[in-house]
């Protein structure tokens, strides 16, 4: 019975794979093979095969790299190293953004699959928590852009500011300093989604250590904004620490992360004008 089941399932899978394996001629030469496999961003994977003298060149036409870039992936050195490591594991390489390998006819099938599998694995970075730090950097850049557009004339914005506490040196993502007395100084810290409890406790230490530096009593008048990324992954105790210490928090879910810049101008205007009640509502 089990043997019959296995046989039926195998037959079904074989039919599905066969139905979804497509091939078409390319105008510029060669053949495009569409595999019965999809990427993380729901694209059917295709691989291009070009015949060269006594070997075949198998590649993705730069589609994977280009597609990730077009969706807002930064393609930083870290991203490229990640992609190169994946390619290497599958025994292929990346040449000017193209996943590719030369092979003989007897290696053609496994090479086509290796290029396709590499392409699929690379799109994992669209959802990977591995890139949490890189993501935080990207958020830093985007917040910076939002602050630049928001910045009132009587404000100065500093980035990656090192602040001496009583016991240690801390880095704030941004400080907005007023030139006059119309606004308050705002300290902005971006908290990535990994290890929330540790980050919350570290935030708490930073908060008190900065305040305890007796050489800078003016810091007691600063207003603090904590930007919490991937808030859905934060535990209640971790959130309680940050919310209890920051004057206000900007909580962003992973899904809606791209909306955070839109919320910053209004929040900063209220925060630096000392309208905390409005923010708490």
């Amino acid at each position: 019975m089990q043997t019959q089941l296995c046989s039926d399932v195998k037959q079904l899978v074989a039919e599905y794979l066969n139905d979804n394996l497509r091939g078409s001629s390319r105008e510029s030469g060669g053949c495009t093979i569409t595999l019965p496999l999809k990427t993380v961003d729901d694209r059917w994977i295709f691989v291009i095969v070009e015949s060269r003298f006594d070997y075949f060149l198998v590649h993705d036409g730069g589609k994977t790299d280009s597609s990730l870039f077009s969706q807002g992936v930064k393609m930083s050195d870290a991203d490229e190293q990640f992609n190169a490591a994946i390619a290497s594991r599958y025994g292929v390489m990346i040449e000017k953004g193209r996943i590719q390998k030369n092979c003989q006819r007897n290696q053609l099938c496994e090479t086509i699959l290796a290029v396709g599998q590499s392409a699929i694995a690379m799109t994992a970075q669209l959802v990977s928590p591995r890139l949490v730090e890189a993501e935080a950097q990207e958020v830093h850049v985007r917040v910076s852009e939002a602050l630049r557009l928001w910045k009132p004339e009587d404000m100065v914005i500093e980035q990656n500011v090192e602040i001496e506490g009583m016991l240690s040196t801390h880095t704030l993502n941004f400080i907005t300093r007023p030139k006059g007395k119309a606004h308050k100084t705002a300290a902005i810290k971006i908290l990535p989604a990994s290890n929330p409890r540790g980050r919350a406790e570290r935030y708490g230490f930073m908060h008190y250590d900065i305040l305890l530096n007796s050489e800078h009593p003016e810091r007691k008048n600063w207003v603090n904004l904590a930007v919490i990324l991937g808030v859905e992954t934060w535990s209640e105790p971790a959130l309680r620490i940050v919310k209890g210490l920051a004057d206000t928090t900007l909580e962003v879910t992973t899904e809606k992360q791209t909306e955070l810049e839109g919320r910053i101008p209004k929040m900063l205007s209220a925060l630096t004008a000392g309208q905390l009640t409005e923010l708490k509502q």
């Binding site: 078409s24 510029s28 291009i48 000017k96």
Partner: protein, 167 residues
């Protein structure tokens, strides 16, 4: 508990509600086509930025929106060519190629497509087939000229008018 905006109303805090209006606006990137093509020929990805000034359709308030224009691909392999317009790092419009994709009409298609903004999901993951790039051999320059025109994106005619600090 997150508050949902009732259907038909615009969330005042959601900047992406401006996208349909933004797509209809004429947009300007201060980099010439020749400069873009030179970067592509050098194997680089092109990432241009601009600040687009528009007005909120409900309040009339002036909005400054940071836009990015991303262009990538290798000239010999048209399958990998992409143009995309991003607002706050989210794709809101663009063109690309797929051997096989399901269009917004639910039918399976092949070839060039446009990424269509979906106000409900607030992304441009949906695809609709286009014939804009069909008909004969097309160069990367043709791809850019036709695509950017369709996206209402303008640029200086040559480098003398372009501002290199925007890279």
């Amino acid at each position: 508990m997150e508050q949902k905006t009732p259907k038909g109303e615009t969330d005042p805090d959601n900047i992406f509600d401006i996208v349909p209006k933004l797509l209809g606006d004429k947009k300007w990137f201060d980099v010439s086509l020749d400069t873009i093509l030179a970067m592509i020929r050098d194997g680089k990805r092109v990432d241009l930025r601009t600040v687009h000034v528009t007005s909120d359709q409900n309040t009339g308030e002036e909005l400054k929106l940071p836009l990015r224009l991303r262009i990538s691909g290798r000239p010999p392999d048209s399958e990998g060519w992409h143009i995309s317009l991003l607002l706050y790092n989210r794709r809101i419009d663009g063109f690309g190629y797929e051997e096989r994709f399901r269009g917004t009409d639910g039918i399976e298609h092949h070839g060039w497509h446009r990424h269509v903004w979906n106000p409900n999901s607030q992304d441009a993951a949906s695809k609709t087939p286009v014939s804009l790039f069909d008909g004969g051999t097309m160069s990367f320059r043709d791809f850019l000229i036709r695509g950017l025109k369709e996206m209402k994106i303008s640029y200086p005619k040559d480098d003398d008018y372009a501002n290199p600090t925007l890279f």
